[in-house]
């Protein structure tokens, strides 16, 4: 019985972190209608940034967010501005330009392998002051870093919702995501909006990087582990939907955690794919997606 409860708690916590990672992806998709295949690599960059911030400056991993998050914002901003914008401009009449997917995949290869050249292939783990720390509620064990990750997810999503609803830039982003032509006619500089949306999506990966670093390891292709998961989550929840990403994340986390109680854990991966395809077949827009998008 207690392993079931333990499984639910752990699945929810880790699932919320997946959801946070997927949040960045869904935001970017919502605006430029492109799946950013380099998303996992952005997470990798975020994790390396967090790792080095903690290692070199000796600061607390959550304090490192102060450095990592803005750094990742500019990283994403520049990536969109320099690499993706030219293709996007050339394909401005296409709604979902496939070429951009390929460009982001190219970025993924370059980021992962440049990291391999610079930092080498080894796995890096850093012992922080909260690594391996737990809360105990009776028999129930809650990992502190995962719990804080859960809190971070809630804070970041609320902040994001507020930003999109109440700031000028947020409103522009929402306008551009509804109809980019109309938005640019209304005087919104769509490419600047894209840059900022991309920057925010990447900055979220900085938060995830800092949240993961106390309990997860870093290596150049770490992004791939989360990549496919994020894709599944955003589509499951509905591309472009913020609550969809979070709930999708928790669903995946729970399937992995609870499924393993009843079957070999390798099979839970398959369950995730089956659930994903089943949801798509029944409700093609995903759980919270808008009908326009599929």
């Amino acid at each position: 019985m207690d392993t079931i409860l333990q499984g639910i708690v752990n699945g929810t916590l880790i699932g919320s972190i997946y959801g946070l990672a997927a949040l960045g992806l869904t935001l970017i998709f919502g605006v430029i209608k492109v799946i950013n295949f380099a998303h996992g690599s952005c997470l990798m960059v975020g994790m390396y940034a967090a790792y080095w911030a903690v290692k070199l400056l000796g600061i607390h991993p959550y304090l490192a967010m102060v450095i990592v998050v803005p750094a990742l914002f500019f990283f994403g901003y520049l990536m969109q501005d320099i690499v993706i914008k030219p293709v996007l401009k050339a394909q401005s009449d296409v709604r979902e330009p496939t070429e951009v997917i390929i460009v982001t995949t190219g970025v993924w290869y370059i980021l992962d392998n440049v990291t391999l050249m610079i930092f080498g292939a080894e796995y890096r783990v850093i012992q922080t002051s909260i690594s391996g720390k737990i809360f105990e509620l009776g028999d129930l064990i809650i990992s502190k870093p995962k719990f804080y990750g859960f809190i971070a997810t809630i804070v970041v999503s609320l902040a994001l919702v507020w930003f999109l609803k109440y700031t000028k830039m947020g409103k522009s982003i929402r306008a551009a995501s509804l109809d980019r032509e109309a938005a640019s006619l209304m005087g919104i500089n769509q490419y600047r909006v894209y840059n900022i949306a991309f920057g925010i999506g990447t900055a979220i990966m900085g938060v995830v990087g800092c949240a993961l670093i106390p309990f997860y390891y870093v290596f150049p292709t770490v992004g791939v582990i989360f990549d496919v998961k994020c894709f599944i989550i955003v589509v499951l929840g509905g591309l472009g939907s913020i609550p969809g990403a979070l709930i999708g994340g928790v669903i995946v986390g729970l399937i992995e955690s609870m499924g393993a109680q009843f079957m070999t854990s390798t099979w839970t991966e398959l369950i995730v794919y089956v659930v994903f395809l089943a949801v798509l077949f029944v409700k093609p827009a995903g759980l919270f997606g808008s009908k326009l998008d599929w």
Binding site: V87, E99, T105, V107, N113, V114, L270, L277, L280, W294
Partner: protein, 331 residues
């Protein structure tokens, strides 16, 4: 010499060169590279029927390669059926699976379709990796299957590389012919229209979805044949190698770099991308691990930025310019 004769002469020359290549490329490792090159060209041509024309981006085609390889190998190892027949059986199974997957997914748009094919491909890989035996058939999970050595035409095994070369060359020629033929009959027009303007085509009463599913079935059938070919060439395969995401991606990349939706694109893409990735991996990976993949990524980005329709476009332009130039200067 008129422009047309020159064009025809050059094309005949190219075909002749390709067919006589094994006579003067005797080095088996170069021949192997050529075989894999045509294998990729064939795969991409098959992919192109869906990915190029139907206006969607399938990212799970390695699933059908796996279906082909596993079907023919299981039939050969367990029941002694020649891989030549197993190849057809694999193709039929793949086509059926393709239709089952295609009917609900092909009506999805862009990213949804791409990701659902990807999930299907990954799901199949996880399934095979976790299955040691399926009924009486040994799948061997992650360890893959080894095909016992027995050189004979009946067993689709040859000591020499040249027969493999001709087999894949003929397969590629047939695939190109099918593509060409399809582009000239109704289905091609409909798909093309549906790929570019789905709503408009729908409004004109064209049942685009039906034609997409037909294209998917043909594409999956052809892809599975390549799976059997690969199994017989390597005589050993395992899930990560033939069911992985990497292979699915590579096929899509070759098509996009070459020029999706065109006849020559997949072949040109394979012709350029394969040698680059093969030789840069061999010669650069010891200098700086990962450099070859950085180069690969750079090529992807640069081609997409400067030639979003793929390299077939400037190459065709160049070829035409060349024809004009030569025929004009000769009067």
């Amino acid at each position: 010499m008129t422009r047309d004769t020159l064009d025809r002469t050059l094309k005949i020359l190219a075909v002749l060169t390709v067919f006589t290549l094994p006579l003067w490329v005797t080095n088996p490792s170069y021949l192997q590279i050529l075989i894999l090159l045509f294998w990729y060209a064939y795969l991409t041509t098959s992919w192109n029927l869906v990915g190029g024309w139907a206006g969607v981006l399938p990212l799970g085609h390695s699933a059908y390669i796996g279906i082909g390889a596993y079907t023919s190998t299981i039939l050969a190892v367990n029941y002694g059926i020649s891989p030549w027949f197993g190849m057809i059986a694999g193709g039929v199974i793949a086509a059926i699976v393709g239709v089952i997957i295609g009917v609900p997914t092909l009506k999805l748009r862009g990213a949804y379709f791409a990701l659902s094919t990807m999930a299907f491909g990954e799901g199949l890989r996880v399934f095979v990796e976790n299955t040691d035996r399926l009924g009486s058939c040994v799948l061997n999970g992650p360890r893959g299957i080894c095909i016992p050595l027995s050189n004979s035409f009946w067993n689709f095994q040859f000591m020499d590389k040249a027969p493999y070369y001709y087999i894949i060359l003929i397969m590629l020629a047939i695939a190109l012919f099918i593509t060409w033929h399809m582009s000239r009959i109704r289905i091609g027009y409909y798909l093309n229209a549906g790929g570019e303007e789905p709503e408009a085509a729908q409004a004109l009463g064209v049942n685009v979805a039906k034609y997409k599913v037909i294209a998917m079935a043909i594409s999956c059938f052809m892809t599975a044949l390549a799976g059997t070919f690969y199994a017989q060439l390597a005589l050993y395969f395992y899930p990560k190698a033939i069911l992985g995401l990497d292979l699915s991606f590579e096929i899509a990349f070759i098509a996009l770099i070459g020029g999706r939706g065109t006849l020559a694109g997949p072949v040109l893409g394979a012709l350029i991308l394969r040698p680059v990735s093969e030789f840069s991996r061999i010669y650069l990976s010891s200098v700086l691990p990962g450099l070859h993949l950085v180069i690969y990524g750079l090529i992807l980005i640069l081609v997409m930025i400067f030639q979003p329709r793929g390299i077939q476009e400037p190459l065709t332009r160049f070829y035409k310019w060349f024809l004009d130039k030569v025929t004009v200067s000769r009067g």
